[in-house]
Symmetry: C3
Subunit: 153 residues, 3 copies
C-alpha cells in the first residue's frame, strides 16, 4: 500500500480522554459486528474506508474496497440461509493504541458463536483481530483489518 492510496485520518474535533475514546471505539465495534451478523451488507461496508483492506484466513486473498466487502456479506447470507446456522461475532479484550498521526491501532479477541436451527449454541472459532481505524467524515472507520484464527496457528 502506498500512502497516496490511503484514506487520510482527520484531525479529531477536540482531544478526548482515553477512557472516553475507549467507549466510542467499543460502540463502533458493537455496531459494526451487529450489522455483519444481520447481513446488512451496504451499511456494514460503510463502516470501512473506501480503500479498506480486509485479510481473514477463510479467504484466499485480502478483500479490497467496499464493493468487495459487501459482496462477501451477501455470500455469507446465502450460505447461512442454506445451512440454517446463525453466526454471531463477539469482540472483546480491546487493546487500544492511539498513534501520533491520529489513527488508532487496535488488537482484540473475536469469538464466533454458532447456533444451528433448533440446536444448542456453541463456540465456533477463536480469533485475534488487528485493525487500523481512522476518523473519516466524523466517524471511526476500519482502514485495515487482519484476522488470525487460533485453530490455524
Amino acid at each position: 500500500m502506498t500512502s497516496e492510496t490511503l484514506t487520510r485520518p482527520e484531525l479529531a474535533p477536540a482531544p478526548v480522554e482515553f477512557g472516553t475514546l475507549y467507549g466510542e471505539v467499543q460502540q463502533y465495534y458493537a455496531h459494526q459486528m451487529q450489522l455483519f451478523d444481520q447481513h446488512d451488507a451496504e451499511r456494514w461496508a460503510g463502516t470501512f474506508t473506501e480503500d479498506a483492506v480486509f485479510s481473514v484466513p477463510t479467504l484466499d486473498e485480502p478483500v479490497r474496497g467496499r464493493a468487495g466487502l459487501a459482496a462477501n456479506v451477501r455470500r455469507n447470507k446465502h450460505q447461512q440461509a442454506r445451512s440454517g446456522e446463525q453466526l454471531r461475532h463477539w469482540i472483546g479484550m480491546l487493546d487500544l493504541d492511539p498513534q501520533p498521526d491520529g489513527t488508532l491501532h487496535t488488537r482484540c479477541y473475536a469469538l464466533v458463536y454458532l447456533t444451528p436451527r433448533g440446536g444448542d449454541a456453541r463456540v465456533h472459532r477463536f480469533c485475534v483481530m488487528e485493525d487500523v481505524l481512522v476518523r473519516s467524515r466524523g466517524k471511526w472507520r476500519t482502514r485495515y483489518r487482519l484476522v488470525t484464527r487460533d485453530d490455524l496457528a
Copy 2:
C-alpha cells in the same frame, strides 16, 4: 402501554460525552447481571423501574413490575439449587442509541454459560437483548426488555 403508566425519564444532571455514557451503561449491566446470577432478587428487581416489562421466550407471558421480577429470580434460585447448575449471564456488543427524550435504547448480545456441579463450563444459549433504559432517582433502570434466542429463531 400508554405513556401515562410509564416511568418518565429524568433530565440528566449534566450532558456527558458519548464514551462516558457508554462506560456508565456497561457498569449498569455488569452490576445488574451479577445480581441476577447471585439470585439477589430484591436488589436485581430494583435495577428495573416499578412499571418494567420483561419479555423473554422461556416465560409464557411478559413479567410486569418488580414483585414479579423478584419472584422469577427466586424461582431460578430454587431450580439451580436442585440441578446443581451454575448459570452466568454475559452481556456484550452493546449498541447504545440515546433518544431525544433522554431514554436510551440498547441492543446487545447476551450469552448464558452453564457449569454443572463438578463438570465443564459450556455455552448454554445465545440471546439478543433489546432494552429501553431510563434515568430514575439518579440511576439508569430498565423499563422494557425484550430477549430473543437464536435457537428458537
Copy 3:
C-alpha cells in the same frame, strides 16, 4: 498483610468521571490478559504491584510478588508448548467499585477458551475474579487478585 507492606495508592492526577475511569480499567485488563496469553512473563508481572498477592484455585498457595508471577507464566508457556493448546482469557461484566482511599475494587467474570492444535475452540472454564487495583507510577496495577472457579464451587 500489614498495611506497611502494601503499595500505597497514589492520588490520581485529576478526578475523572466514572464512565471514563471504566474505559481505562477495561483497557488495563485487555492489555494485561493479552500479555498473559502471549506468555510475556516480565511485562505481565509488571502490571501487578511489587507486593501483589495472586490467589487462584489451580495453585496450592497464593503467588506473592512479581518474580513468582513471572515464573508462573513461564511454566504455562512450557506446558502449552507441549500440549499444543492455545488458552485465551476473556474478562467481562466488570463491576467497578471505587474506594475512598483511591483504590478500585473490581468483580468481573473471566472465561478461559481453549483451542487444541488443529481442533475446535471451546469454553474451558468459567471464573469469577475479584481484584484490588491501585495507581502506582501513573498506572493502574493489581495488588490483590482472587480467582474462583464455578466448576469447583
